[in-house]
Amino acid sequence: MSKYKNILNSILAIIFALFVGAVLIKISGHSVKEAYYYLFYGAFGTSYNFAQTLLMTTPLIFTGLAVAIGFQSGLFNIGGEGQLYWGAFVTAIIAIKFTLLPGYLLIFIALLGGALAGGLWAAFPGYLKAKTGAHEVITTIMFNYIGILATTFLLKRYFKADGPVDQTVMLTKKARLPELITNTRLTWAIIIGIIVVFLVDQLLKRTAIGFDLKVVGENIFAAEYAGIKTGKYTILAMIISGAVAGLAGGTIVLGVLHRFITNFSPGYGFTGIAVAVLGRNKPWGVLLAAFLFGALEAGGMAMQLFADIPSDLMEIVQGLVILFVAAPAIFEIIFPVIKKNRGVESNV
């Protein structure tokens, strides 16, 4: 019952956000019709554009999922960005150094290495939280900066390709993720993303590990009472979360950039927070939310290209979607019909 209400709320949130966006477009003297035509066209208009949407979706699936896993376990992992850089970095190094391996194995090991690196990087804040109570919001923010600086440092000192750019050498063909649709940049990364969504969903729903993670997230005192080692699960949650964020970096390297470059992420780790929120921290919800954000971004680019409307407008729309999704009460006030009798417990 409430599941449908959630979906209805999300749809209303998107409509409202697009409506506010339309008002802004109008104010800035552009044609709303033209703008939204290109928004839609840019996201779905051609198979290339649709592939573009999916391309933009892919990293957000991973980073959104990473944040969602944290939330499910009661942790706010803002450190996706740093974990993503480590994932990308290690993936690239493995893909460059172990070229003797056969293609698929190389890709697998490179991604695995990236996931491990992201997981390890996230394990530090998890450990600090479990052992000293250091707030993960602060430590993960700090670890973002440190992680980005550290990978940059290692890149320059040991792995930099010749030339004017701080980047590794190009990956050989066999280390790259194969294209999914020819002549687009869409690769198997999105399939990996969907598989990871499935796995995380199953982990949370059908395993004792997932069960314990959720218990720790819901009620840490009950977890202690039930004999769950809360510290261990705090660290484990961060490792899984970080590993998934690491995969975001790894798939970008193997699928899009084909090498590691400094400062390549436009903040996927942070956008992941919004994606997780919109997807209500449920793996399949994250997938849908990432898709929406991917579509908004791909569409936003077309809007800028063809209608000359700054693509930052889509950032405004994204922000509004999150605000509205966070506040379902807003629609209950506007549309009183939605307000079902909310079960308020009777007196104490």
Binding site: I146, P310, D312, V321, A329
Partner: protein
């Protein structure tokens, strides 16, 4: 070695730290108010950015940086009020709404910059706030050098630290705000208007963060540059927690962050033969070490992050 010590303990390093701490401390104190009333404020980053933008817009159209500062305060307050509206009235999850607010603020400022000035990177130059020399204080050695030659917002920041402390811990309003954050139901049963306390605190939080933003754009510089808050809001959030939800603590934490940043900058200048990335890590590493070293055991207001429904 002696060179390093000289760098760390020079007056210049301290004055630089004071300047750099100003926007963070202003926002952090804003965070103190908000969180003392029970509302988690991740939206500080967006509030700083909006304040920075509004300040430049104000100065651009009126020619007066002081009106720019006023515009920043207004814009910050407005954003704070909006945030309060969402978190209190619409019961939005505080963290989520804060994240949304930050994205929204980044989008709106970048977009408006293109609407107003037709460019994305930076605004044209406007009149910035002048530096003001404090009389009397400027005659005192060392202390005068440290404190007497700053932008007015730096002085405002120091006054804000003190006044905020007074307000929170010595006045009726402060007691009521603190009670609201600790135990809104208790406050309610004493006839205290819980919602008013929260709206007031969050709006004030926006105003302070907005002023912090104005310092970035009109105090340190004289133009707006896209995403110029550059993560200071998150540092402010950390400073607020680090500073134990106390204005003085928040300032001290902001100062610590900035001080290590100032040292970092100066260490780059003397050739230590260390990669610049490693030196740049210092402030962040230091923060983690101090936090994990359990020097502080933070205890947030008991009802932080909860929604209180009057007469549920």
């Amino acid at each position: 070695m002696s060179e390093i010590i000289e760098v760390i303990f020079s007056i210049n390093t301290f004055t630089a730290a004071i300047r750099m701490a100003t926007p963070i401390a202003m926002a952090a104190i804003g965070g103190v108010f908000s969180e003392r009333s029970g509302i988690i404020n991740i939206g500080l980053e967006g509030m700083i950015l909006t304040g920075a933008f509004a300040a430049v817009v104000g100065s651009f159209f009126t020619g007066s940086p002081w009106l720019g500062l006023l515009a920043a305060i207004l814009a910050g307050s407005l954003l704070g009020l909006l945030f309060a509206f969402f978190t209190i009235k619409f019961k939005a999850d505080h963290v989520v709404a804060g994240v949304g607010l930050n994205i929204l603020a980044l989008g709106i400022t970048t977009w408006l910059m293109q609407v107003v000035w037709g460019q994305k990177g930076a605004s044209p130059e406007v009149n910035g706030l002048p530096e003001i020399t404090l009389p009397i204080l400027n005659k005192i050695p060392i202390l005068g050098d440290l404190l007497a030659f700053h932008s007015p917002i730096v002085y405002i920041m120091f006054v804000t630290v003190f006044l905020s402390w007074l307000l929170l811990f010595k006045t009726s309003l402060g007691l009521r705000i603190r009670m609201t954050g600790e135990h809104p139901e208790a406050a309610d049963t004493l006839g205290i208007n819980v919602y008013f306390m929260q709206y007031f605190s969050v709006t004030l939080s926006g105003a302070l963060a907005g002023m912090g933003g104005a310092y970035l754009s009109l105090g340190q510089l004289s133009w707006f540059s896209s995403n110029m808050s550059a993560g200071r809001g998150y540092m402010a959030l950390a400073a607020n927690i680090f500073g134990q939800w106390n204005p003085i603590g928040a300032f001290a934490a902001s100062f610590l962050f900035s001080f290590s940043d100032a040292v970092q900058m100066r260490l780059q200048g003397i050739n230590l033969n260390l990669a610049s990335e490693l030196i740049q890590m210092i402030p962040y590493l230091l923060t983690v070490i101090v936090l994990a070293g359990a020097v502080v055991k933070s205890k947030p207001p008991a009802a932080l992050g909860e929604h209180y429904e009057v007469g549920k």
